[in-house]
């Protein structure tokens, strides 16, 4: 789980490295990835610690067991003979291998296989959902939004597809403005659009900076400083 999270964040950073460099977001991303990495490392260390305890028990258990057996036997008045000692030792060695190694390994690998199969099953369900979406979609996506452009700094994008009313509404922005921080000037203003499943959104404006401000950036990285309701679904 932790590895997945780290891999996802790393691939996002690598994909959008030009944006990260351009806006100077290196430090927040480094701290985010370090936090995830530390938590992953903590889990790995915990698993190794438990494994070390298992191995410790595995190595010392036969000697303690044999000592206890012979002590009780001797105190009950028994006589220690060579066949008795050696056969008992080999019995205990078999038990040590079975309980100390195989039994603990069985618990360990069974729980891992259980967790793995749950994870794979989650992805398989996701693939099945995507396959259903695949089947329900038309072969070519129609351009959903016709952008209308107003002079800078305000860029307004509005419009909706004629056949979009039947589709699932994913994102609705009403009079939205976006800025990198609360004190910074807004880079996008008076944004009104509805986004349905299967639609394509384009924001057109002067300068290549606006090309970075597409939908993936409607995330907490940007601060919405004015505007009405923001509704996310799915």
């Amino acid at each position: 789980m932790q590895t997945d999270l780290r891999v996802r964040h790393m691939s996002e950073v690598i994909d959008g490295i030009s944006s990260v460099k351009g806006y100077g977001w290196e430090q927040p991303f480094i701290s985010l990835i370090l936090t995830i990495r530390n938590s992953e490392l903590f889990n790995v260390l915990r698993a190794q610690r438990l494994r070390a305890i298992n191995y410790c028990l595995y190595f010392c258990s036969p000697h303690i067991t044999l000592f206890a057996i012979f002590l009780v036997y001797f105190h009950l008045g028994g006589k220690l003979t060579l066949p008795l000692v050696f056969s008992t030792m080999s019995f205990v060695q078999i038990l040590r291998l079975d309980i100390g190694r195989f039994f603990t390994r069985a618990i360990e690998t069974s729980s891992e296989a259980y967790a793995s199969s749950l994870r794979i099953e989650k992805y398989l369900n996701l693939f099945a959902n995507l396959k259903e979406a695949n089947a329900s979609e038309p072969p070519l996506l129609p351009p959903a939004i016709v952008p209308s452009f107003s002079p800078p700094p305000a860029v307004a994008v509005a419009g909706s597809a004629s056949n979009s009313s039947s589709r699932q509404l994913l994102l609705k922005v009403k009079n939205g403005s976006f800025a990198h921080s609360l004190s910074a000037p807004p880079v996008l203003q008076h944004l009104n659009f509805d986004l349905h499943r299967g639609e394509l959104l384009m924001i057109i404006g002067p300068g290549h900076r606006f090309s970075y401000l597409l939908l993936p950036h409607l995330t907490p990285l940007f601060v919405i400083i004015s505007g009405g309701r923001k509704k996310f679904s799915s």
Binding site: T109, S110, A115
Partner: protein, 208 residues
């Protein structure tokens, strides 16, 4: 010697020289078996995930075979330990002839040899079972992935790294599990219940 090695030292091997895989170990029947079993179980039973149930029902014949070998190995281990005790007893007992000790030593050697042989056979079959489970799961994931359009996959937020993690790390767990799974199901309960009973009787039985 492996026939591949005897051919390989004379000339370069090509694809036709490679050993034929049995038909039930081919990936396509394994994947179709796993798929049909997976869709047969609509939900998990007693908390066991669907995929695990499907995998178990795909390899259950191999599982029984491996379990049988592990059981045989466990029983041989107990048998050789009993033989060791008898052998040492016969060496200490000066009244008996030396022939009996030789017979016991021979039996002990044979039991150990057989146990080693069976251990390798059972390990081979369990690894093969784990490999089959791995191949079937990877094939299943690939099959599902190929049915989805690329742009949908990208928009769903599943990255290549996650998928690689899925088919390398997660699937590897099944292979590791397959080595101890039949052992813990067949050999351990029987040997671990027989051994303490036998050893306590043999050690403390004389005192009673």
């Amino acid at each position: 010697v492996n026939p591949l090695i005897s051919v390989g030292i004379t000339r370069q091997l090509n694809f036709e020289d490679l050993l034929q895989l049995p038909s039930h170990d081919h990936s396509s029947p394994l994947i179709s078996q796993l798929k049909s079993a997976y869709f047969h179980y609509s939900h998990s039973i007693c908390g066991i995930p669907r995929l695990l149930l499907a995998l178990c029902s795909t390899v259950w014949v191999q599982f029984l075979l491996v379990g049988f070998y592990y059981l045989l190995e466990g029983l041989l281990r107990i048998f050789s330990t009993i033989l060791l005790g008898l052998f040492l007893q016969s060496l200490q007992n000066t009244d008996q002839s030396i022939d009996q000790s030789f017979v016991l030593a021979l039996l002990l050697s044979l039991a150990n040899l057989l146990q080693n042989f069976i251990h390798h056979v059972s390990f081979f079959y369990s690894m093969k079972m784990g490999n089959n489970m791995k191949i079937a799961t990877i094939g299943f994931i690939y099959d599902c992935l190929f049915e989805i359009r690329g742009n949908l996959l990208q928009s769903s937020g599943i990255s290549t790294g996650q998928l690689v993690n899925l088919i390398s790390n997660d699937v590897q767990r099944f292979e590791e599990w397959s080595v101890v799974w039949p052992l813990s199901s067949f050999s351990l309960p029987i040997t671990d219940s027989l051994l303490p009973i036998h050893s306590s009787v043999s050690i403390f039985g004389k005192l009673l």
